[in-house]
Amino acid sequence: MARIDLKSLAHSYLSNPDAEDDYALRKMDHVWEDGSAYALLGPSGCGKTTLLNIISGLVQPTDGQVLFDGKDVTALPPQERNIAQVFQFPVIYDTMSVYDNLAFPLRNRKLSESEIRERVNEVSEMLELSDVLHKRAANLSADAKQKISLGRGLVRSDVAAILFDEPLTVIDPHLKLLLRRKLKQIHARFNLTMVYVTHDQLEALTFADKVVVMNEGQVLQIGTPQDLFENPKHTFVGYFIGSPGMNIVPCQMQEGVASIGDLKIPVGKGSEALSGQFELGIRPEFLKLHAQEVDGSHLVTIKEVEDLGTCKVATVLLDGQILKVKLPEFLDVPVENIYLEFLPQWIRIYADGKLVETAPQAQARTEDAK
């Protein structure tokens, strides 16, 4: 178990990087707490696997340091870092039995056979592999193989962190759920630091205590799932988390009022000082449709209503801007004379994609607490 510090870490796959774009990972400083489960979430090619491989030692960073519990491990090879890694495609040793697979990392570290037997039995029981322990690993299903590769990490009592690189990609959907629950159990039982790379937000949000959202080699936000939902620090986070993602609309700010074209939307306290060109972000969950005009609402045209089974998503046009609105499933959407209301405490204002801190957020949080 270990706390992981990343100190001014940056990485480029080019030998002589100079421009910002040359870096697969832009300079970052982060502290990942001991015993927490982190998910690295981001689109393909955003650098999350690179970051994972730097932590495990498979990739040497161009700049910066990686510290485990304050100890610099940047120069150490993976086998000396006490980490375990589970890969996208299950890695098993084909010619060995399940038992030998699990014993392999211990045998390489010259433990006695009686110790090995004890550890392997314990881990195989926990992973529900006891029945197949003496079968050949090559003939098992993908989820069992993935459990074996996880087990090879868990057998080592000294393991500091377990890293997962999209481990559920090749698993059948109905088994994904079981395996994910197993991971959570293991996390709860061993209190291990876990880092989980995925591009599936549902996986990230259900697995992790903290989600690290990445894009284009940068960490945009580290937060709890609730944080990411309510207070995205970046428009990308807002858009990437949530289904559908946050509505982002260019607006003009003046005296606490956002103008989208000719329409005025009051934003609330704390935004009075802002003036000029900004972006307004609001989640589809916090937009309301009304059949009559209410205070602060605006007439919109409905382009389309999708029925997702548990809810409906309406696509509306507001002064040429497309917005998504999430509606309860049972609501019948009238076709004409629809008014759209923005819930002011959920409006977020962004400048250059970054969140501008305004009072309503604090207000929303205290209201939530009540």
Binding site: Q79, Y93, T95
Partner: protein, 290 residues
């Protein structure tokens, strides 16, 4: 439903039957034809049943050639397969070095077989050959035209030089096909270089190595052109392998009957060995003991 009722389907496979018949079965039947008759001319033939087979199977020179052949093929496999794997492991995995080493390794494969023989005649000549003269100048007498052992060494060296590249290419392709995650996992599991080879690379190369063993066995068992050019089967009969003996029998002495019977037996031996290798290699390392 009766499978045989669908007569139209049979028309669809007739072209394949014809091609296979003309290319393989008919020539083979000609050989069978010769092997059971004594043929003096088109209208003058005597059916001799298994006489040629009996003659061939009791022929001491054929027994000698067969044991020479088996020894040769065994040595070829024992040297070329491990050597090919070792070279493939040492080759760079990417970059310009990989392309360059591939081209260099593959060069011997591009040379016609009889030219190979000629190259090695000159290369190993004790007076002017680079190899032969160098060995002799070190005080070790070496002459493949006089000493049977030297002839064997030369033929083996030539064979290894010529065909190990094929094993290298196959092994290299097998190694390149292993996903990087296996090596990363092995590093994390603390596996030594040997353990990585033993438990990842070797098992993953099984398919290509099966092909390599089969190809190298068949080719070396049927070897003709190179030793024929280099030694002509000598000195004495020391490098007279099965093919060379067969050609001596058929062309040199015009004993078509025994030669045909011999060909059939030769063919069956190759088939038998390939089947044995294939069965063995399919099962090795899969834990399947049936």
């Amino acid at each position: 439903m009766n499978k045989w009722e669908n007569n139209k389907a049979w028309f669809m496979v007739i072209p394949v039957f014809l091609v296979v018949a003309v290319s393989a079965i008919l020539p083979l039947m000609t050989v069978v034809n010769y092997s059971v008759q004594d043929i003096f001319g088109p209208e003058n033939r005597i059916f001799v049943a298994t006489e040629w087979y009996k003659e061939v199977l009791t022929d001491q020179r054929l027994h000698d050639a067969l044991s020479r052949q088996l020894l040769f093929s065994a040595l070829v496999l024992l040297i070329e397969i491990p050597l090919g794997i070792i070279i493939a492991l040492m080759m760079p995995k990417k970059g310009w070095g990989a392309s360059l080493s591939l081209v260099l390794v593959a060069l011997p494969l591009l040379i016609p077989w009889n030219v190979i023989g000629t190259i090695w005649i000159i290369f190993t000549r004790p007076d002017i050959g680079l190899f032969g003269a160098a060995i002799n100048s070190m005080g070790i007498p070496f002459d493949h035209t006089a000493a049977p052992l030297d002839a064997w060494i030369t033929v083996l060296l030539m064979e290894v030089w010529h065909w190990t590249p094929l094993v290298v290419l196959l092994a290299y392709a097998g190694l390149q096909a292993i996903p990087e995650a296996y090596f990363q996992a092995a590093r994390i599991d603390g596996a030594s270089t040997w353990a990585t080879f033993r438990y990842i690379q070797l098992p993953k190369m099984r398919g290509v190595l099966t092909i390599a063993v089969l190809l190298r066995f068949m080719d070396s068992f049927l070897i003709y052109a190179e030793p024929f050019v280099l030694t002509g089967g000598g000195p004495g009969n020391s490098t007279t392998f099965l093919s060379i003996y067969l050609v001596k029998l058929a062309v040199g002495q015009f004993d078509l009957g025994p030669a045909a019977a011999f060909s059939i037996i030769y063919f069956l031996i190759v088939l038998l060995f390939c089947w044995l290798f294939y069965q063995a290699l399919l099962k090795v390392g899969t834990g399947d003991k049936s």
